[in-house]
Amino acid sequence: VTPAGPICLLLLAAQTPPPDLPEGFVGSETCRLCHEDLGGEFRFNPHFAIDRGASKEARSREWQGRACEACHGPGKAHMEAAEAKHIFLYGKSLRNRVAPAAGRINDQCLQCHAGGLTHNDRLLGAHGRNGVSCTQCHSVHRSDRRPLLAVEPNELCQQCHVNVRAEFARPYRHRVPEGAMGCTDCHDPHGELLPRQVRRVAANETVCLKCHGDKRGPFPFEHAPVRLGRCNTCHEPHGSMNPRLLVRHEQRFLCLECHTSSLQTIGITPPALHDLRSPRFQNCTICHSKIHGSLVNKDLLR
């Protein structure tokens, strides 16, 4: 609030709101008189389309000229009393010691943003279950970063997921620190059907196949864990100390941990010709080069 604010509030408190505004509303122009720090930048914000009546929601709910109150609620009482408690605040402030629960914040945003594919799985996502609200990632008044994120996307994710930042410090990794890809290329922060909010491609295939298209198949001879969407059975997707992002340091251990005949699990012990005392058999993909699935050979040899 600028130094002129208290005087403005006094002056405006004495004014009568325009007669065609619903009871309790004052309009965005009035809000900007005091919140000029937000008002100036806000005209370049996508939400300014509400003020202009350029969106369907704005027109159907008659929100033209009331973009601020579309999200924060009627502002008349707030204007008259100059107290934050009279409007809906999304975050903490000096007067609002505790932010509203995530569910309430999200309900406000979802009045308009429930449509499309983006938010359909939000009820299944870990963010939704763990009380991460929309405004923890999105800075709604900003306009310089798409899609209104508070900071750069990868940086934003790693502010909370500190341990994942460490995984990307490993030598064998997906090129996220280099900027070649981002967290949201693989994860949908709004929620997904699959664990860890992993995205899907081509309706219901795992997101890994988006870039690794040569493993898409279908192959006449599949390797079961690949097709069951279990790339992380063998690979550490963020980063690994082992080559090829593998979860084990030597191939023979990686393979034989599953390929040991057990009751009720997939994976059988290889025939006895696989003499592990020979280095040839310690490197399984020397022979089983089509480990992700073969077009030709039942044993994934070619």
């Binding site: 004495a14 569910g103 279950r129 460490a166 069951l228 340091h249 009751l263 058999f281």
Partner: protein
């Protein structure tokens, strides 16, 4: 009286003058149609790689940054509220000029009319690690027999018309293609030969749909198609390739003189998606989706090879082989989900979800082979093979969430996962079908705590009891906990911590898995005076993995234990010092130390300097150092200095 006070305020400059008619008609706020805000920056320069030592192949596999002129980054953002053709345009390009990761992103939109995005990435992938897939390592040969030097180009685009409107159609296109060279192996009975390969594959995906956005109902219907091709070729000519086997087999050296393999795969498929969300009452929401895809593929394969070989099935030596294979495969897959959210009170929610995923892969192949035998008629064989993979997976979860107070939310629930899988055994010598089942009950709980204005915690707990798993390494009886917290000591100092633990056991006969994983992280962000003079960001993570799982040695069926240990320390640091207006020094490092099964150290210190030259033009310089050491594979160590300098122009 009011009007007089307002007039006085305007004269004093406390209130901006406003036309009276605008105040009377707030619905017709005039769009500032001529207003445009343009900003951006371009950063370019030259990079040198200096003082490089150690393994060049490993440097390229891990870092792969090269010398030459570079466009480090370019950004542009245009904002034009109420513009005729667009409201906003954003362009971002990074790492052009021979770097291994080139990206461009373009976004454009006009409110109520369209939204468009285009992503392009060109990824260079080099991987050749002498310690990986190298059976001759013990003989001093530093040559990986599984090496790749490829490029992958990705294009992802989507155009949505009338976003947010009642009916909103959209179109999307995705392209992925890869190509390059590599080293692979050609395998015959008793030996395998490292040979060169040319890789070429591509897949395209097209989809279009319609979104229906109503006040209480959102529905999306989408239809798409994919195409796929793979034209890998493998060849060897000119000389004798002795392969990895160095002892005779059936009294002769098994060697390769000439090889040609040509894979030809052409595939396609369709997929459909129907997604809806309904909110019939304020206390009740439904969401559901149905997903279906059916890719298929047709395969032709040709192979000819000459040399000295042995056919195990006939215990017969042969000198040449001609093979041809025709195959096909299909993979229909259906997935569905239904979620119900009930809000009986303002502070309570119950979320119930059900998910099913059903996949069936059927493949068949006809292989005809002709063997050239010494002093005999050729041997002709043919075989028909089929393969099958089936998955039925289901998940049901119920969660109750209660906002106990404005600062505390508690959550508890139960998840049941069950299903079955069947796979035709892929090993010729032990044919048959393997079957497995999944059955797991998981108790879930969590809490979100916000104390005062500066302390946030979230806790996520799972405890499971499972008696069936698909694979031996799967989660069975496990406990998982994740705790995250953030404390704002002051506006200038923030602490973030995270702790995660996973204990997994599978005591089923023949498995006896024990797994423990722990991660403890702490981050500090110090920004006195909003970071105007200096700032410091530090984070440290201690991560440990302890895994032990018995396995059978194939040659003698002796039970041994596969143990994996990782004891890692990881850290990142970045200090920024603002020397004078728009002049800045960044000093930082990224460190990874891991002991255990593969002891490795990886250091990446760096320093950057930015100084204004004239107007919005600035000079930048950067130094980075990469140091990589492995205790067991010292021949893979490398180090390199990277120096870069250039100009940055803002507008």
């Amino acid at each position: 009286m009011t009007a007089r006070l307002a007039t006085l305020a305007v004269l004093l400059g406390l209130l901006p003058a406003r036309p009276q008619e605008q105040q009377a008609e707030p619905k017709s706020v005039a769009p500032p149609s001529a207003e445009q805000d343009t900003s951006g920056s371009v950063s370019f320069g030259y990079r040198w790689v200096a003082g490089k030592g150690g393994s060049e192949d490993v440097y390229r596999s891990v870092v792969n940054l090269g010398e030459g002129p570079k466009l480090f980054s370019a950004d542009a953002a245009v904002r034009r509220p109420g513009g005729r053709w667009y409201d906003r345009l954003d362009l971002h390009a990074a790492s052009w000029g021979g770097d291994p990761y080139n990206t461009i992103r373009l976004d454009g939109a006009r409110a109520g009319s369209y939204a468009f995005h285009l992503d392009y990435a060109n990824i260079r992938y080099f991987n050749s690690l002498p310690s990986f897939a190298n059976p001759l390592l013990g003989q001093g040969v530093l040559f990986s027999q599984r090496s790749l030097d490829t490029n992958r180009r990705l294009i992802d685009s989507e155009l949505e018309f009338r976003p947010g409107a009642r009916f909103s159609p959209y179109l999307a296109f995705y392209h992925s293609s890869g190509g390059g060279r590599g080293v692979t192996t050609f395998v015959v009975d008793g030996n395998e030969f490292p040979v060169g390969t040319r890789l070429r594959d591509g897949s395209d995906s097209y989809r279009g749909g319609l979104r229906l956005n109503l006040t209480r109902l959102n529905l999306t219907l989408e239809q798409g198609g994919t195409t796929f091709k793979d034209d890998q070729q493998v060849s060897f000519a000119g000389g004798v390739n002795p392969g990895n086997r160095r002892v005779p087999l059936l009294d002769q050296d098994v060697s390769l003189r000439d090889l040609g393999q040509a894979y030809g795969a052409r595939g396609g498929g369709v997929f459909s998606r129907g997604v809806f969300e309904a909110r019939p009452w304020s206390w009740l929401s439904f969401a559901g989706q149905f997903l279906y895809s059916k890719p298929h593929i047709d395969v032709t394969y040709l192979q000819q090879n000459t040399g000295n070989f042995v056919l195990f099935e006939a215990l017969q030596a042969f000198t040449g082989e001609l093979g041809r294979s025709l195959g096909e495969a299909g993979r229909p897959r259906s997935s569905a989900n239904w979620t119900t959210e009930i809000r009986p009170t303002r502070r309570a929610r119950v979320v119930q979800s059900w998910f099913t995923d059903r996949l069936h892969v059927a493949g068949a192949s006809l292989l005809a082979r002709s063997f050239v035998l010494p002093s005999r008629d050729p041997l002709q064989t043919s075989s028909t093979l089929s393969n099958r993979l089936v998955l039925n997976l289901n998940r049901h979860q119920t969660d109750g969430l209660v906002e106990v107070a404005s600062f505390l939310t508690l959550r508890a629930g139960h998840r049941y996962e069950w299903g079955d899988a069947a796979s035709a055994a892929n090993v010729t010598l032990a044919p048959g079908t393997e079957v497995a089942a999944l059955r797991r009950h998981v108790a879930v709980a969590g809490a979100g705590l916000r104390l005062g204005s500066s302390l946030d915690f979230s806790l996520d707990l799972e405890a499971a009891a499972g008696d069936r798993t698909f694979f031996r390494t799967d989660l069975a009886d496990y406990e998982r906990a994740r705790l995250r917290g953030r404390y704002h000591w002051s506006r200038a100092l923030t602490f973030t911590g995270a702790f995660a633990i996973l204990n997994n056991r599978n005591a089923a006969p023949g498995i006896d898995l024990e797994y423990q994983g722990r991660q403890t992280s702490l981050a500090v962000l110090l920004t006195p005076g909003d970071g105007r003079r200096w700032s410091l960001a530090l984070d440290y993570t201690r991560a440990t993995i302890r895994s032990s799982l018995p396995y059978l040695e194939p040659q003698d069926r002796v039970r041994l234990i596969s143990t994996y240990r990782e004891d890692g320390h990881y850290g990142n640091a970045m200090a920024t010092l603002h020397l004078w207006p728009r002049a800045r020094i960044d000093l930082g490092a990224s460190l990874a130390f891991a002991a255990g099964s593969r002891p490795t150290r990886y250091y990446q210190p760096q320093a950057r300097f930015l100084a204004p030259v004239w107007g919005k033009l600035a000079w930048q310089a950067e130094w980075r150092w990469f140091g990589f050491t492995e205790r067991r594979y010292a021949f893979e160590n490398f180090h390199a200095h990277l120096l870069a300098t250039g100009l940055q122009f803002g507008f």
